[in-house]
Symmetry: C2
Subunit: 191 residues, 2 copies
DNA sequence: CTTTCTATATATTAAAAGTATATATAGCGG
DNA sequence: CCGCTATATATACTTTTAATATATAGAAAG
């Protein structure tokens, strides 16, 4: 889904080699999505075949490591990129969450364990939120677009945390009204 | 990612055939994720091979259409399902958004067009929010878990709308301070 | 000087997921 | 009888993910 154009977009900023492309994406957009080497190298090859980028040179590494292939975008690539950039997205947001997939069926499992899993998820998102807020400060002077996306990341994180806490409360109440002996659990889990 | 367990989970509620599984997922969780026949039938076959479900019977359709294969979960399937249900998720949420992928690079395109795309996205989410809120009413008396997930869907929708409007304002301001002649555009897009 | 470790770099393969397409059955309306 | 729609099973192909392979080079330890 648009990996080609993401790579083209990055090469508009500056020339890059494959390893650096993944690094850049992870650093700047890692909170929103990620990319794999299995996607990068085949797409670089394809873009080159289509004449949208060229492999400029193979340079010896300054620091350490093997020689690297530096890619740059062509004029044809710039035009194709803008054509895509100004087209309407063909699909809406796709979301996959192994936790939510479990959440739907929590009625089938052990209520105690369900609450534990929610607590784990709350911890994960709290930690991630802290990292994202720290990153926000770092990126304040960068691109307004990256900044706004980072804000979306923290907004989303906060929203999910709020929902998790609300869901937890309602489930504690729901489990509590069951004939199951979980009152002790409710008490233990209350702060 | 867990398609097998989603199918197992649905078969805990009641026996179903392949076509109905997709229908059920689209109706109850369509706001969060979707599934394709290309995922359903191979996984049904695999689950049967693993002894987690059985193909109970082939029944002639009452209404119309061809005969259908009714699947039901086995005891082994129930145990495997609960094992998965009570395990910690192995990954975090995955998010893919063709619009956000473009948003990041809006600095390269035409500012007018960028604002148009944002306006389109706002329309899409507003419409989706209306549908989700209507669905919320319908599901109020159903499973508390499905209900909470539906609430998450509307919460997320509202959050994204808020962010889009905030982003739009900041971008209008950002573009306005450019040396580009977009003041007219700013004026036309103001309500 | 050699070995081990780490970071950096290119790349491929297998499995899983997602998309598109094919084929079939049956009722209904023209 | 034909065309359309809904219902139903299923496969082929593409994309993504995860894992793995191979390589280079500096630094540290022995």
């Amino acid at each position: 889904m648009g990996i080609k154009y993401t790579i083209l977009g990055l090469l508009q900023y500056k020339d890059m080699h494959g390893y650096r492309i993944k690094e850049h994406i992870e650093r700047n957009f890692g909170h929103m999505w990620s990319i794999n080497y299995g996607q990068i190298y085949p797409n670089l090859k394809k873009l080159e075949e289509e004449g949208l980028i060229t492999m400029k040179e193979v340079v010896q590494n300054d620091e350490k490591g093997p020689p690297r292939k530096l890619y740059s975008i062509t004029q044809k690539g710039r035009e194709e990129f803008v054509r895509w950039l100004e087209s309407s997205p063909e699909k809406s947001m796709i979301l996959r969450d192994p936790f939510l997939m479990r959440f739907v069926f929590f009625g089938f499992g052990d209520p105690d364990r369900a609450l534990e899993l929610i607590d784990e998820q709350i911890s994960v998102y709290q930690e991630q939120l802290g990292r994202r807020q720290a990153n926000l400060q770092r990126w304040k002077h960068g691109s307004i677009f990256v900044n706004l996306i980072a804000e979306l990341g923290t907004d989303m994180n906060q929203m999910i945390l709020d929902w998790l806490e609300k869901a937890r409360k309602e489930l504690v109440h729901h489990f509590c009204t069951d004939e199951a002996g979980i009152k002790k659990t409710v008490k233990m889990n209350e702060k």
